[in-house]
Symmetry: C2
Subunit: 455 residues, 2 copies
């Protein structure tokens, strides 16, 4: 295991690479950071070349770019595996809640703090370093490798599907491993069997043509914030049931076996409540918290705004109120159909005196469920068992990775998540971090995964 020695020797250097990578504010949701997303892609290409993978390049899509690289010298009798990840990150606001600036990464208590440290820069960098370690110590890899990194995951990969369709031959692979995702805990691995789909919209409620004096016009005309609240309240009740006609129609309800498998996974409800900083859990009382998190579709408000938000008082009856809504879907819900149900519901529940506009979010994702006995999952399971000294939990997660269903649709391959983030790492929130221990473990795990193909 010369690669292990190599990884140890390069430890400091690799951490510096990660810090350098996280410093790039590659926020795909903000137009003003488009060039930073491109810059992050170029950084990845340069790093791939340094690792010994000469055929690496940034490729354009209709919006944010991707990076493609390959090393195909293992021979035609060897399988080709693809490793997927993303180099774009979530916005970092509210900035004032960060202990240190999100794009000036710092190491504290064995953790790298910075936006994207865990999601997904630390995780996506690890397989590159693993490949470098094997190439530098053996001069070869036991398997053909393709690396496919995108710059639009955090906005739901809006233009990735056409890119994959157009480059289906280039991207063809026997197995796909995703470096986006995570493990169960520091000492317990997991294999992710299911991911939720995604669909969303922005809802605009238009009242009067300008902000009006709330004294002069209150009681005369409708208040768009009130109308928006009525609409939102009509979509989900105070127990968390989604009350949109047709929303649950195509949901494959959890089987007795599913519920039993979920119940076997250690989940400490009290610890979860404490970790979220809430007074209680919330949601459909007919299901356990884990069943809701993993196996039930959701409707969440991501943002709301309208009228005066400053200090003090401004007695306006505002002109406009808006909200962002996203739903996480489970098999066999269809994002387009769910959007139509939402739109029809909103139109039916719009009170008198306001106009509504419902704009579909650019990105959407089909729900994803891995078949039982899937080959890549079995291999990943063996490696994880070896690395952690214990067999993985079979879990689902509530997040969406649109590329998983895109890759399945076009390339016919069920991707396997092989990533090392942990739940407490504040991804999508202030003070995101990645453990240096996870960073090293992921490099080792990817080396072992490649070795597994040499056996």
């Amino acid at each position: 295991m010369a690669w292990a020695e190599y990884l140890r020797k390069k430890e400091t250097e690799f951490i510096e690479d990660l810090i350098d990578f996280v410093s790039i504010p590659s926020i795909s949701a903000m137009d003003e950071h488009f060039e930073d997303v491109v810059k992050a892609g170029e950084w990845v290409v340069e790093r791939l070349k340094r690792a010994g993978i000469e055929n690496a390049r940034v490729m354009e899509t209709e919006t944010h770019p991707v990076v493609y690289a390959d090393w195909l010298h293992a021979g035609e009798d060897k399988p080709t595996i693809m490793i997927y990840g993303h180099f774009d990150v979530q916005p970092a606001d509210p900035y004032d809640l960060w202990d240190t600036p999100p794009f000036e990464p710092q190491i504290r208590d064995g953790k790298v703090f910075g936006r994207g440290a865990s999601d997904d820069k630390g995780n996506m960098l690890a397989p590159i370093l693993a490949i470098e370690a094997m190439l530098q110590t053996r001069g070869t890899l036991p398997v053909n490798i393709k690396l496919f990194y995108e710059g639009q995951e955090e906005i739901g990969s809006p233009t990735l599907a056409p890119f994959i369709r157009e480059h289906a031959k280039l991207l063809s692979a026997d197995m796909i491993f995703s470096s986006d995702g995570g493990q169960f805990s520091e000492d317990q691995p997991q294999l992710i069997q299911g991911l939720k789909g995604l669909v969303g919209c922005e809802l605009t409620v238009q009242g009067p043509d300008a902000d009006k004096h709330s004294g002069k016009h209150g009681g005369g005309i409708a208040n768009p914030i009130h109308a928006l609240s009525l609409i939102i309240a009509s979509m989900k009740d105070d127990e968390g049931h989604i009350t949109i006609d047709g929303f649950y129609d195509d949901v494959i309800d959890l089987s007795i076996e599913d519920r039993a498998a979920f119940a076997r996974v250690p989940f400490d409800e009290a610890a979860y409540i404490a970790q979220q900083g809430v007074t209680d859990t919330f949601g459909e009382p007919e299901y356990t918290t884990l069943e809701r998190l993993w196996g039930r579709p959701t409707l969440e408000l991501n943002g709301i705004w309208g009228g005066y938000q400053g200090k003090g008082t401004k007695t306006v009856l505002p002109s406009i109120a808006q909200a962002k809504i996203t739903c996480r879907l489970v098999a066999d819900q269809n994002p387009d159909q769910i959007f139509e149900h939402i739109k029809a519901h909103i139109e039916r529940h719009t009170p008198k005196g306001v106009r509504v506009d419902v704009e579909k979010m650019a990105a959407s994702a089909q729900p994803f469920l891995s078949p039982a006995g899937h080959n890549a999952s079995e291999i990943a399971g063996r490696v994880l068992t070896e690395v952690y000294g214990t067999a993985p939990h079979y879990v689902r997660i509530g997040g969406s990775i649109p590329v998983m269903s895109m890759l399945l649709d076009t390339l016919g391959v069920h991707a396997t998540v092989f990533a090392f983030g942990l739940d407490d790492e504040n991804i999508h929130a202030p003070n995101e971090f990645f453990r240096l221990s996870s960073f090293q473990k992921s490099q080792i795990a990817y080396c072992k995964l490649l070795e597994e193909f040499g056996k």
Copy 2:
């Protein structure tokens, strides 16, 4: 009428004074503009002195200052009248909806555009100019005058009541006229018989201790935007009835006479709808629009915010959602009691899994109703009839002028609104303006009002 000639001669100069006055961004709601409020007060004092009123000064309150001035040389047998107004203004955001900058006033089509042009700088400046015209042409006034201008009306006059109590002797007057308010139309005057009271609060719904990933935690914990929407929706139904226990208990319902008087006032519902830019009116269907606007209490959302409000998508389950709510009250509702009803309602309707905090707005106002046959109203009515050539409509307005009830409580005087703003002047909204014709009419009307006391 030498004063009429004087006003004509000074017309351009007085418009320049108004432009100068409106240029001061005296926004009382914003701490960073506190000094501008002081500056506006000093501007008023300087202008009063130029008008010939030597005894004029800025006086401090616990927060924003006031201006006091008097001219008491008419003799002890003459009545003392007080003129009230305010030199602070509303915030001017959203700035991008203004055709020209709010604090760089410009004249277009015989109107001065700028924040505060109508509310209340143009209106409060007029009596000063009227006094100047009489003093400069006669050397005396037919009545003793006190001028009392405040710098905190737009934030609900939070520290004016203790000031008035403390200076009750200084402020004592036989009659009070308010330069804050308006007329029915360009050619029809009005006398305002009633004003609504005011009470409000800021509602904070706290969910998790930080923004969370909506995929990871959706279905597990409550969404504070959803909870806030449920609470708001529970306060007012889709017909506009306020559904808070006890809210209507002390409302003196409109009598048959009140409703008949309202019905006599020309009110064009279709024109009102067009003017507000809405599809329809909205509110308690048991009342006409005018009855709701003038005679019914309201609950309005002034602002709402929470989660991600930027461009694109950020799939957070936010930590906090907040809203600003104000109620306009009618006799005999009590602001403190209404706040308690609201607070109790919110606590009863808070769903599981979130915490709420309800903070009472600093300012509140009792509703105001003028007694029938009130002396100052009769005098004002005669002057308005002369100026407009037609008798005034007897109306109420939905707005609140907290000082009206404070002056009544402490000085025992029912103030009479004698002001010349019009409904279409975008007060509290972008592109506020004041008609130059109203500016001149108000100077003439105040001269005639003073003359009326000489008869």
